[in-house]
């Protein structure tokens, strides 16, 4: 299987990006897919490991060696069939996943990982182009109905699986368009929204009902929803953003990333005018938070034409190579440069915001102090370095410091669900809540995490819901053994 010596003959060749100058002029995706020959050679680099760590690294448990081999052999259609068996939406993960599979790739121990993610994308795009992606006919309906609340990746995955199992599925979405964070959160330059439309139209054809602009808990009470359906699965994401508690927080010009990014998605979709709202054009932008969301804000700001953009990370810069205590196959805590970061802007590390300074209630500057991480009593603690204070000009401060959990207020008030100390619904077992027939999946279950986890959890939840509904052993597929690397 695969090419036995493939990894010795070819170097890793990831997809190329459109030129910086070019890509920052528009909102289109920046990744350029590779020619077929390249893809096949790259598939042939897979070593077909006896223990494919990549599959453990992948939250979906994708059969990665299988599809790599099939690409290598040019059997794209079969590769697509293999891929779709474990992944409902390879077109999303193929674009957006940070690829923990590649971090776990055995080849990455002393070489460069197989381009698993790009392979995945090229498989699924080819499948769409070739017309291999056809609506799946559901032969027999079970007569049970399921409400999926939230249309992000978790909700869509759960809906897709439950629909395939023959249940009648309605997806409720409070926004005007389907997709959750994929729609409103991921910039168009990473995921053009027709990709979502393409999928939704398939799902619709397959029989899923989508109900947009309906907020459960407000427009429809949770109790009523439970009454109307045999099961309800809560996939409402983890919308509570982490806030900044420093003097000056109430100044104008401070926004959460989730106020900033969705607006731009709407603008691209033609749903929002191009000038009002939060725009970075001509501004000195500071982004707090060095993660992916921060990066997205960075790329968006650059495309807006910001005067300057600085992305600030609280923690010190990670090493360029894996640290001693961060070995393969763990996620490598190494210095990375995202496509947006490559496009421009400054990055600062080990900076703690101490104060926001404004004029007339409008933000003008941000004050920071350098920190260091020291070990005290066996624990790592952050300590400011005295005398290292500095200020940056700042007209627009975007807070991208992560999320603390789902917004459960209406669920708590209307259904009185139990909540764990971590702020997610508590239940008797995975994906179940304290309320019978009410399930939870995605970020609402796990806390803010990756799209791939959302899809995976959506699938696993569906498996349990289906089994409960038909009162039999699980019949939907599972991702299999869950075992952490360490």
């Amino acid at each position: 299987m695969g090419k036995v010596t493939g990894f010795m003959e070819a170097n890793r060749q990831a997809a190329e990006y459109r030129d910086k100058k070019d890509r920052t002029q528009d909102w289109r995706e920046f990744v350029v897919d590779r020619p077929e020959e390249t893809a096949r050679t790259q598939g042939g680099r897979c070593m077909d490991c006896g223990v494919p760590f990549c599959q453990q690294g992948c939250p979906l448990g994708n059969p990665i060696p299988e599809f790599n081999d099939l690409i290598y052999r040019g059997r794209w259609k079969q590769a697509y069939e293999v891929l779709r068996a474990t992944n409902n939406f390879p077109e999303f993960t193929g674009r957006l996943c940070p690829a923990p599979c590649e971090a776990a790739c055995v080849l990455s121990i002393n070489n460069t990982a197989v381009t698993i993610e790009q392979n995945e994308k090229e498989i699924v795009e080819r499948a769409f182009t070739e017309g291999w992606v056809e609506p799946h006919r559901v032969l027999r309906r079970t007569g049970r109905s399921v409400a999926v609340v939230g249309s992000g990746p978790a909700g869509l995955a759960a809906a897709d699986q439950l629909n395939r199992a023959g249940h009648t599925v309605t997806v409720y979405e409070k926004s005007d368009r389907i997709g959750g964070l994929l729609r409103y959160g991921i910039p168009d330059f990473k995921l053009e929204k027709w990709v979502i439309e393409r999928r939704i139209s398939l799902l619709r054809t397959e029989g899923i009902t989508f109900s947009t602009g309906v907020e459960i808990g407000k427009d429809i009470r949770w109790t009523d929803l439970l009454e109307d359906h045999d099961a309800v699965v809560v996939c409402i994401g983890a919308g509570k953003a982490r806030d900044l508690d420093v003097p000056g927080r109430d100044l104008q010009g401070i926004h959460f990333a989730m106020d900033f990014l969705p607006q731009q998605n709407q603008r691209v979709a033609g749903d929002f005018d191009t000038v009002s709202g939060v725009v970075a054009t001509g501004k000195h932008v500071v982004i707090l938070g060095g993660g992916d969301t921060g990066s997205d804000c960075l790329g968006t700001s650059i495309r807006h034409g910001a005067a300057s953009v600085t992305q600030i990370e609280l923690m010190p810069a990670p090493p360029s190579l894996r640290a001693h205590n961060n070995p393969w196959p763990h996620w490598p805590m190494v210095f990375r440069t995202s496509s947006s970061q490559a496009e421009g802007g400054a990055r600062e590390f080990a900076q703690m915001t101490t104060r926001l300074i404004g004029e007339n209630g409008v933000l003008k500057e941000i004050e920071m102090i350098t920190i260091e991480v020291v070990t005290e009593n066996g624990r790592s603690v952050i300590r400011p370095v005295p005398g290292s204070e500095k200020r940056l000009p700042c007209d627009l401060l975007i807070l991208a410091m992560g999320f603390t959990g789902p917004v459960l207020d209406s669920l708590q008030s209307q259904l009185n669900i139990d909540v764990t100390p971590r702020g997610v619904p508590a239940g008797p077992s995975k994906f179940r809540t304290s309320v019978p027939r009410l399930y939870v999946a995605g970020d609402a279950f796990r806390g803010a995490s990756l799209i791939v986890w959302a899809i995976s959890d959506g699938r696993e939840a569906a498996r349990i819901i289906d089994a409960d509904l038909i009162e039999a052993a699980p019949r939907l597929p599972t991702r299999g053994q869950d075992m952490a690397f360490a």
Binding site: F53, N111, G166, A486
Partner: protein
């Protein structure tokens, strides 16, 4: 007195082997001399026998002679029995219970039966014995030995013999039924008017002392057979001593269980006028509880008394290899072909001597796996024995010296007064009937019929459903079916297996997975099915069997097929046959899937009934079919159906009235076919596997036409079947069929007893209800609710590679990464996380040991009082991984680590570079303490051997027991070639067996050889766990091994067929416990240390191993993982990405393991072990060994299968007296104090010190074995492989040399022998010179007589050898550097040779040059027939025209004449110009290519010398 099953001990696994021989006068003139000579043979072969824990108790010895009438006449007078006529009476030599009441009852039954059968009891005689000659243990079970005399009345002598037989069978049966002999003392050693047997549980030399009769001058005979036994056990058994009634046997019948069953199966067909009709009342003909030899004797006796001559019966039972031998005459082939429809071969290594008192003879199995030499003297004596030189005969009295050849028979007819050779004996037999014509008329082939069209392939929409319902996985198709269809070969894998036993798996594994293949180790050799294909056969005949006693044309009316795997069209054709001869009935295996747990059992019962009825209705071909599975119907597992029907029909005695075929969707891999055939099916049609292939081709996933894919697939299965059979040393599928050579793990005994009767299943487990549930589970995959919408793909599988959704693996991302992190971060805490995972994973999911709990001590020992981790770690060794299989970097890292730790690393099977003996500047040493000696003997020379602390003989390896290996040429780098003494770029083949170990006494010999060459080294023997490994271990302990390694089924790097990785061998817990139990029970435990390996990973594993009996522990995979192995499982592809199992410099550069990684890991393991020891209350490790009572079976709640296991047999602790050792406590006695070499060494001091050369003279006898090994060891220790200057020590011997003459002789020593020699001359020759010639006084023609034995120059790396005479089989096998001249060789000459030069001046046997990849041979082709006897798969034959070759041969022949005085050589030289043209040069194709390349290379570098011979 017989042993009972106890703990893990299975009495049916006993083996024996031995020395045997006979002396006869050609005209049958009785004399005292014959008897005395025979007794002398016994004592001279005593090194081939063994004694147990009690040195006075032998394994058995005996003598068979003609009735000494004069002696008995005198006795009759003394006893007042009145006068008797010669041959007018029979003598029964009877073993009786010592208890008087029991004995009286036995005698009474005996007398009554004699009378009721119309004969007269003359009287009883107490056989005088000297009980002081019996050992303690043998004495405890000594029967009372009496002779009964029976007068012949109203019968001719031949009918009287038959009558005596009938009486004996009836008496045996009645006594068993009467229960008057509860301890089974009763045994009739012989009962005949022609012959008598004296035998007992005695040391060979004590036999005549014990039986005073044998001392009498009146005790004379014209024929005497003797036998001394080397048994794997010492559970005392007087009755199993040999000779038996007609034969004595050196060897082992591997297929005895099947042979016995087939005999039962023909019960309804057996009729003989000689026995006056049906012989039902004599059943059981074959004594199921006796040894294989005993059962063979039973069969031979029946055939002989039924009217066949002994030679004829022998030909039926031990046929030659006839199917693939182009040299065999057609009439002879026809005879064997015909006979195969009457009797299936009794297959296995065998040298059999037989006699009926008139004719005496011997025969050898088809593969010639036992030695037998004979000589004929001027005074008309014929002496045959396992060795030459057993009786001293003046050279001038010898007319002829010969050896038994494979498949040949040798007969002395004393009535006719002449020796009859094979050709003549067989000519008479094969011309009795026109067998060829009979066959032509009656045997049909499929091609004789109009081909029927195959059923329509399964429709695409049904295919997936059926595949799922029959348990197919994606992996089955991707890894097994598709590659077999594409390549025609079974796929290979690496790194063993680490998935759960079937009984612990939650994946509803098929019934096939519950069975493990058995394999040969020690007591008989596996065969190389590729290189020795000449002896292998898959030829299958389907149809009714015949009456074995009769020979009529109709009896061979059968359908002959070349392979037991049928295509869909072939099966359809068989179904359609309507010529009156075949009446076919298809029996459906379907039953209602919805029914309760008893449904499967009911379905099987109904099926068996239907089978009986079908036969009653006249059908003679039954087809069991699982076609038709749908949403409501599931099929009885095909294996269960086949075995149940087969055994049911056998029990009914009607099995032979019908052929049994199976049409099954389940069978897809080799193991499945092996099981179906091994449990009784004649042929298998794997219809769904074939439909799957058709589908793959249709979808272009297989780039072949469907017919070609099917053909390749069947070819792959066929090859795989040959391999499975050959692993056990079985060469014909006809004897493999129904032989049940499997062990079940996790099946309920009642299920096994009912439907797989005779199969070992030692830990109980699931029964029919559970199998039904698993059947339902699989069915639901295709037809259940889940299938309703997931019909697009198959389950992933995950058997061969870890998959997240697949089967569990011990080595998975979590365990691998934790272990690696722990050693890299030097974190014991991290290790504990690993151990926690590893130990908990074990619990109920993986291994038998996961089902154990410890019994904690009442008061734990404080941890700091427990033996230190460093001390415990000295018991650890790393696995035998060769440099070649792993990189030098990895190999040396392991060695350094183990040397620092005080443990031991192992060279593996690939030699070791001598630079590694020199310590590194930092004090580290890269030398491996353990030097392995494996079948290929790569790099095994004197220097290697003397540089070892332990010499390990690898009998088998866990990943592929019973198989050889191959290192493809592209992997043989300069460096590897140098250390393996071979040529870079030339493929290296490891033979499946050690060609010097075909039996237990051979192993004893190799142990002796190795101990002789390096007395300081401990000798260990590596075995693989399987049922019976305990009895093998007992034999190995008696063979004086000092350590026995019990390897589990899971270990092993290197390439191996997937079916071997998965389905051969059993977990070490079973093997270790069995070995411990059997060794303790035999009081053999104290002489050996036990070591266990194969998946040992944690301290808990170590402690469990110790409690089950192990003192030492081998680790292989885990240290590799610690060094960075990530279980890529690509060892066989040279692409290990972390630089461990590869020789690619680009990859080895990436190796980043260190000795510290290994050391830390092993110390963690020891530390964890200490913690458990503290809990268990043990201060020292030794205290713990063998205390299995400290383990209890963990109640497994919730695992519906595991909870049915019963591990009490594993935890059994034998009850023995306190003085019996339960762990190592005394050294083995090798008896080297008086070795001849001590004398030679003493006389060679000046030369050894590098001074003046010495010339010595020395008489030698066959009891002087491994002469030269110790002397050579001295030289090698001082001077390494360079040795001394030529002829520094020159010894001139006279006499018959014992085995292994000149073994490992290094340069500087010259041995010249005038006389003859036994097997293994020049074994491992390392540069010395050996010359052997017949004594000057001999009158026979040297080049026409046998001079030296089998397997000469095995693994020789350098040196010269000259033999003036003919050598036996396998001359120069695996020679890699020696030059030799010989005047004729037996079969398989130059097999596996990789270097060196062999000149044969006379005839060769068959299969010359098989597997020869290097070196050259020159054969003087006197009769122009050589090319037909040469196996030309790897070699080319050329004329001798090259100038340098001509000179090379000339010089060697000249040397030959100089050293041996060869007259033949002289004649050749005298007519050299003419003779040159008749030489044939045998040149390995690959070697030639490599040499040409190298020459071209060299030429481009410098001008070369035309006479230069390629350096090895």
């Amino acid at each position: 007195m017989r042993q009972q099953r106890e703990g893990l001990y299975e009495p049916s696994t006993e083996h024996d082997a031995c020395g045997m021989g006979f002396v006869a006068h050609i005209r049958g003139e009785a004399s005292r001399g014959i008897v005395e000579d025979a007794l002398r043979i016994l004592s001279r072969l005593s090194h081939r026998a063994a004694c147990g824990c009690d040195p006075e108790t032998g394994d058995g010895a005996g003598i068979l002679t003609q009735i000494p009438h004069r002696f008995f006449q005198a006795e009759f007078e003394r006893l007042g029995f009145g006068p008797v006529r010669r041959r007018g009476y029979g003598v029964a030599q009877v073993f009786l219970p010592p208890e008087p009441v029991q004995r009286a009852r036995c005698e009474e039954i005996f007398e009554e039966t004699v009378t009721s059968e119309g004969q007269r009891v003359i009287g009883w005689r107490d056989v005088p014995i000297d009980s002081a000659q019996v050992g303690r243990i043998a004495g405890q079970v000594r029967p009372v030995i009496r002779q009964m005399f029976i007068e012949r009345r109203r019968l001719v002598p031949t009918a009287f013999e038959r009558k005596l037989y009938i009486i004996r069978k009836l008496v045996e049966k009645q006594i068993a039924e009467a229960g008057c002999d509860p301890d089974e003392f009763f045994h009739v050693a012989s009962m005949s008017a022609e012959t008598i047997v004296y035998k007992g549980l005695l040391l060979p030399e004590r036999l005549p002392l014990f039986f005073k009769d044998l001392q009498s001058e009146e005790f004379i005979s014209g024929i005497a057979l003797v036998h001394s036994r080397f048994s794997t056990n010492t559970f005392p058994t007087w009755d199993l001593a040999q000779p038996l009634r007609y034969v004595c046997h050196n060897g082992e019948i591997n297929t005895v269980r099947g042979n016995r069953n087939w005999m039962l199966a023909r019960r309804s067909l057996l009729q003989s006028a000689k026995f006056e009709g049906p012989i039902d009342r004599l059943f059981p003909i074959i004594n199921a509880s006796a040894s294989d030899s005993y059962q063979f004797d039973n069969m031979l006796e029946l055939l002989h008394l039924g009217g066949r001559t002994l030679p004829h019966a022998m030909m039926m039972l031990i046929p030659e290899a006839y199917q693939n031998d182009p040299l065999m005459a057609d009439e002879r082939r026809a005879f064997y072909d015909y006979t195969s429809s009457l009797m299936e071969p009794w297959d296995g290594p065998a040298a059999m001597a037989f006699t009926d008192g008139h004719v005496v003879g011997a025969t050898l199995d088809r593969n010639g796996l036992r030695p037998a030499r004979y000589l004929v003297t001027t005074d008309d004596r014929v002496i045959l024995a396992s060795e030459t030189g057993v009786i001293d005969i003046p050279p001038s009295m010898i007319i002829r010296k010969g050896r038994l050849q494979p498949g040949r028979i040798f007969v002395v007819d004393t009535n006719e007064g002449r020796i009859i050779d094979d050709e003549e004996v067989k000519r008479d037999i094969i011309n009795r009937f026109p067998y060829r014509r009979w066959l032509e008329k009656n045997v049909v082939r499929l091609t004789d019929y109009e081909a029927a069209s195959a059923p329509m392939p399964t429709r695409e929409e049904d295919l997936m459903r059926l595949q799922r319902a029959f348990g197919y996985t994606d992996e089955d198709i991707r890894v097994i079916l598709a590659p077999m269809a594409e390549a025609g070969e079974e796929p290979t894998g690496s790194m063993g297996t680490d998935t759960p036993l079937a009984v612990l798996s939650d994946k509803a594994p098929s019934l096939f997975s519950y069975f493990k293949q058995l394999f040969a180790q020690v007591t008989n050799p596996p065969i190389d099915p590729i290189r020795e294909s000449v002896v292998m056969s898959l030829h299958t005949a389907i149809g009714m069997g015949g009456n074995t006693f009769d020979e009529t044309p109709e009896q061979c009316h059968r359908l002959a097929i070349p392979s037991p795997v049928l295509t869909n069209a072939e099966l359809a054709t068989i179904r359609k046959v309507e010529d009156g001869a075949f009446e076919t009935r298809t029996l459906s295996l379907l039953y209602d899937v919805k029914k309760g747990p008893e449904a499967l059992g009911q379905a099987v019962t109904a099926l068996c009934k239907a089978a009986s009825e079908a036969i009653d209705e006249g059908n003679n071909l039954l087809i069991l079919s699982d076609r038709g599975v749908d949403s409501r119907h599931v099929a009885i597992p095909a294996l269960l159906a086949v075995s149940a029907v087969h055994q049911h029909l056998v029990r009914e005695g009607i099995r032979m009235q019908s052929g049994l075929l199976v049409e099954t969707a389940e069978a897809r891999e080799v193991h499945h076919f092996a099981l179906l055939i091994g449990f009784g099916a004649a042929a298998v049609n794997p219809w769904l596997a074939l439909d799957t292939l058709t589908d793959l081709c249709a979808r272009n996933e297989c780039p072949l036409a469907p017919e070609k894919a099917a053909k390749n697939y069947i070819k792959a299965i066929d090859k795989g079947l040959l391999k499975v059979m050959s692993k056990l040393g079985i060469s014909a599928v006809s004897s493999y069929r129904g032989a049940q050579l499997f062990e079940a793990i996790g099946l309920d005994r009642s299920l096994v007893d009912e439907h797989f009767n005779g199969t070992a299943s030692r830990i109980q487990g699931v029964g029919l209800p559970e199998l039904h549930l698993e059947n339902q589970e699989r069915h639901s995959r295709g037809f259940g609710p889940e299938a309703a919408f997931i019909l697009t793909d198959l389950p992933t599988g995950g058997q061969y590679q870890w998959r997240r959704q697949g089967e569990l693996h011990k080595w998975n991302p979590a365990t691998i990464s934790r272990l690696q992190e722990s050693v890299r971060a030097d974190s014991y805490e991290k290790y504990k996380e690993f151990a926690e995972l590893a130990n908990n994973e074990s619990a109920g999911h993986f291994a038998v040991r996961g089902l154990f709990d410890f019994v904690p001590a009442a008061t734990p020992v404080p941890l700091d009082e427990v033996e230190s981790a460093e001390s415990i770690a000295r018991r650890f060794v790393t696995g035998a991984m060769s440099f070649g299989s792993i990189s030098a970097e990895a190999h040396e890292t392991l060695a350094i680590a183990m040397n620092r730790l005080g443990g031991k690393s192992n060279t593996g099977e690939g030699g070791e570079e001598s630079e590694r003996y020199i310590p590194l500047p930092n004090g580290d040493t890269r030398r491996s303490s353990i030097k392995q000696v494996a079948s290929a003997r790569f790099g095994v020379h004197a220097e290697y051997l003397v540089n070892a602390d332990e010499l390990q003989i690898k009998m088998a390896q866990g990943a592929k027991p019973g198989e050889g290996g191959q290192l493809p040429g592209h992997k043989v780098s300069e460096r590897i070639a140098r250390v393996r003494c071979s040529t870079p770029g030339v493929t290296l083949i490891s033979p499946p067996p050690h060609h010097d170990i075909y039996s237990i006494e051979d192993l004893a010999q190799l142990i002796y050889d190795l101990k002789t060459v390096n007395e300081k080294a401990r000798i260990s023997v590596k075995l693989v766990s399987e049922v019976g490994v305990g009895t093998v271990a007992a034999g190995v302990s008696k063979a004086r091994a000092e350590c026995i390694i019990i390897a589990g089924d899971s270990g092993g790097t290197g390439a191996s067929p997937l079916s071997s990785i998965k389905h051969a061998g059993v977990p070490w817990e079973l093997g270790l416990a069995e070995a411990q139990q059997v060794l303790v029970r035999n009081d053999l435990r104290g002489r050996v240390r036990l070591q266990v390996d194969g998946g040992v990973r944690t301290g808990r594993d170590v402690v469990i191993g110790a409690l089950l009996g192990a003192e030492e522990f081998g680790f292989a995979t885990a240290p590799l993982v610690a060094m960075g192995c990530i279980m890529l499982r690509k060892c066989h592809q040279n692409t290990c990405s972390v630089g461990i199992a590869t020789q690619d410099p680009e990859l080895t550069a990436k190796f980043d393991g260190t000795p510290e990684h290994v050391i830390r890991y092993l110390l963690y393991v020891a530390q964890e072990a200490r913690e458990w020891m503290s809990l268990l209350g043990f201060r020292t490790f030794d205290q713990m060994v063998g205390h299995a009572e400290k383990l209890v079976q963990r109640p497994i709640i919730g695992h519906w299968k595991a909870e049915r296991l019963d591990l009490s047999s594993v935890l059994h602790v034998p009850v023995v007296s306190p003085d019996v050792a339960t762990r190592y406590n005394e050294p083995q006695q090798h008896g080297l104090e008086t070795h001849l070499d001590r004398k030679l060494i003493a006389s060679s001091q000046s030369a050894l010190q590098g001074g003046r050369p010495v010339v010595l003279r020395q008489p030698i006898s066959n009891a002087d074995r491994a002469v030269g090994a110790m002397l050579g060891g001295e030289v090698a220790r001082k001077y390494g492989n360079h040795g001394l200057a030529d002829d520094s020590i020159s010894v001139k011997f006279t006499g018959s040399a014992g085995q292994s003459f000149g073994a490992f002789l290094p340069r500087g020593i010259t041995f010249h022998l005038e006389g003859d020699a036994n097997d293994y001359v020049g074994k491992g020759l390392s540069g010395g010179r050996i010359a052997i010639q017949p004594p000057a006084q001999s009158s026979f023609i040297a080049e026409e007589n046998i001079l030296v034995g089998n397997t000469l120059l095995y693994g020789a790396t350098a040196g010269e050898a000259y033999f003036r005479g003919v050598a036996g089989e396998r001359f120069a096998v695996r020679n890699s550097g020696a030059r030799a001249v010989v005047e004729g060789v037996g079969d398989h000459g130059c097999e596996y040779m990789t270097g060196g030069i062999v000149v044969v001046l006379g005839r060769t046997g068959r299969n010359f040059a098989a597997g020869m990849s290097g070196g050259m041979a020159f054969v003087f082709d006197r009769d122009g027939e050589f090319q037909r006897r040469c196996n030309r798969e790897m070699v080319e034959l050329e004329s001798l025209i090259d100038e340098s070759d001509i000179w090379l041969v000339h010089d060697l022949v000249e040397n030959h004449v100089r050293f041996t005085g060869s007259a033949l050589g002289r004649r050749l030289l005298d007519n050299w110009e003419m003779m040159v043209a008749r030489f044939v040069k045998v040149m390995p194709t690959e070697y030639k290519r490599v040499l040409q390349q190298r020459r071209a290379q060299r030429r481009s570098q410098q001008t070369s010398d035309p006479r230069a011979i390629p350096a090895e």
